[in-house]
Amino acid sequence: MNIPSWRAVLPFAAAALVAVPLAALGGPPPTPAKAPAKAPAPAAAVQDIQAEPPPFSEGIFPCSQCHDKAGDPTPRQLAFHDDLQAELHHGPPSRWCLDCHDNGKRDFLHLINGKQIPFTESYELCGQCHGDKYRDWKVGVHGKRTGMWDGKKTYFLCVNCHNPHNPRFKALKPEPPPIPPQEQGR
């Protein structure tokens, strides 16, 4: 049982409408009507995909506001970004700012091979260690997408859900439980 599918019928109807005047004018033959059973919706073309902007702490970015040249690369306790350093829980304790942030081009990150990447492409950086998650994210198995399942969609970057300095997902307050039937007064 099925509701009549207008989408399937419309191309024919449209083609028929076009065909009559064109034929009368002796013009070129009309484009054939699209097959009603259209092929499975193709995966979104690359240009249909947007990413959420990465989250920046207010007043911190661009880093070049303060860092106009390369700094001392020695890992040490910082006086200014001590708050970020205090909450840095990502991998081994030896992890240090310049492992990911670039010392030369301050508004950029860098990969292990030295390639500088903008913050909007930080997933490449994450993917160096978390290759399995990166693979899953690229095909939509890990992470979140919103928009159209068969078209334009927005990807969430790793950093939209995981604070890169402290990536473990935080516990949430749950929404209220359902009311048991015996308590649903009428």
């Binding site: 509701i3 009603p36 159209m148 307050k173 009428r186």
Partner: protein
């Protein structure tokens, strides 16, 4: 069916003509029940008789369908004080929907439950109707319904030692609910979605009993849908307002999904546990899940063959 098993009903001349011809209309016509009901309910007899005598949704002419939808739009726009649209989006050709839920991600926050209520115009309380039920289970016991509760309410989720399994309509390939419906008020569309015509439903609740997943909910009282919270973009078989005494359930948000959008629960989930797409498209997220992860279906032994897949991404 042999004659021996047949109930001794008196058949009128049209009953049982086509194999699929629903006999409710014929019954009502011969019994002149429309007039009786109209008198009892105090409604305008013409409108009620006309309503009761209409054909099954799948047999309506496009013009008649549009006329019917138009009337509903007018009625609800006035009732809710906003421009309500009622579509009848047909299944998209070449599309068969599949849903994936990552049990290794879900934290049991119930954001999906309330996003669904809001999108789909469920009754808020008395009766409280929710199409998604999140079950808290013990890691020790795995997926076991005898160690599950939907009523957990801690300060924070997830709780140690537990995992969460949201359950909603599984859109079975062999749906027991549609088989038992005596009036064909519910059926499976070619895109996989099991739909209900709330105006055709007689409220017998056979389907509710037949569903092994507890997915079907009954409006025991007049639904309580505050006008301010009413979602005015509706579909006849989806989230349009329901009357008292009918059954409803998850439709994969067909008013959204049949227009290409993700269901509301997919978009709200803060951990991205919910995946949705076209099973016929090898590049879709749901197919990629099936390609790369081990998926399972709930209560596989019942051979309902759901189009809803659970998986563990890690």
């Amino acid at each position: 069916m042999s004659d021996r098993n047949r109930l001794p009903v008196i058949q009128d001349e049209t009953a049982g003509c086509g194999a699929d011809s629903p006999s409710r209309r014929d019954f009502l016509r011969t019994a002149a029940a429309g007039a009786v009901i109209a008198a009892v309910s105090g409604c305008k007899p013409d409108a009620v008789v006309e309503e009761l005598q209409r054909r099954h949704l799948t047999e309506l002419s496009p013009a008649r369908l549009q006329e019917m939808l138009g009337k509903l739009e007018k009625k609800w726009s006035a009732q809710y004080g906003k421009a309500v649209t009622v579509g009848a989006r047909p299944p998209m050709p070449g599309v068969n929907f599949g849903y994936g839920l990552d049990l290794s991600r879900c934290i049991g926050c119930r954001r999906c439950v309330y996003a669904c209520v809001k999108e789909n115009n469920q009754s808020r309380k008395n009766p409280q109707i929710q199409w998604i039920r999140v079950l808290q289970m013990d890691k020790e016991h795995g997926v076991a319904l005898n160690h599950a509760t939907p009523y957990y309410d801690p300060e924070k989720v997830p709780e140690p030692g537990h995992f969460y399994m949201p359950v909603q309509c599984q859109q079975c390939r062999h749906p027991p609910c549609t088989k038992v419906c005596p009036v064909k008020a519910t059926w499976k569309d070619p895109d996989g979605i099991v739909v209900i015509d709330y105006d055709w439903c007689i409220g017998c609740r056979c389907c509710t009993a037949a569903c092994p997943y507890g997915a079907r909910k009954f409006n025991w009282a007049e639904p309580n849908l505050p006008a301010a919270e009413m979602n005015p973009v509706t579909d006849y078989l989806g989230n349009r307002p329901r009357p008292m005494g009918v059954v409803e359930k998850c439709t994969f948000c067909l008013q959204r999904s049949r227009s290409g959008r993700y269901p509301a629960c997919v978009e709200i989930c803060p951990v991205g546990a919910r995946k949705f797409g076209n099973l016929l498209d090898p590049e879709s997220e749901i197919r990629q899940v099936m390609e790369r992860k081990r998926v399972f279906i709930f209560k596989e032994e019942l051979a309902t063959e759901p189009q809803f897949y659970y998986f563990y991404a890690t």
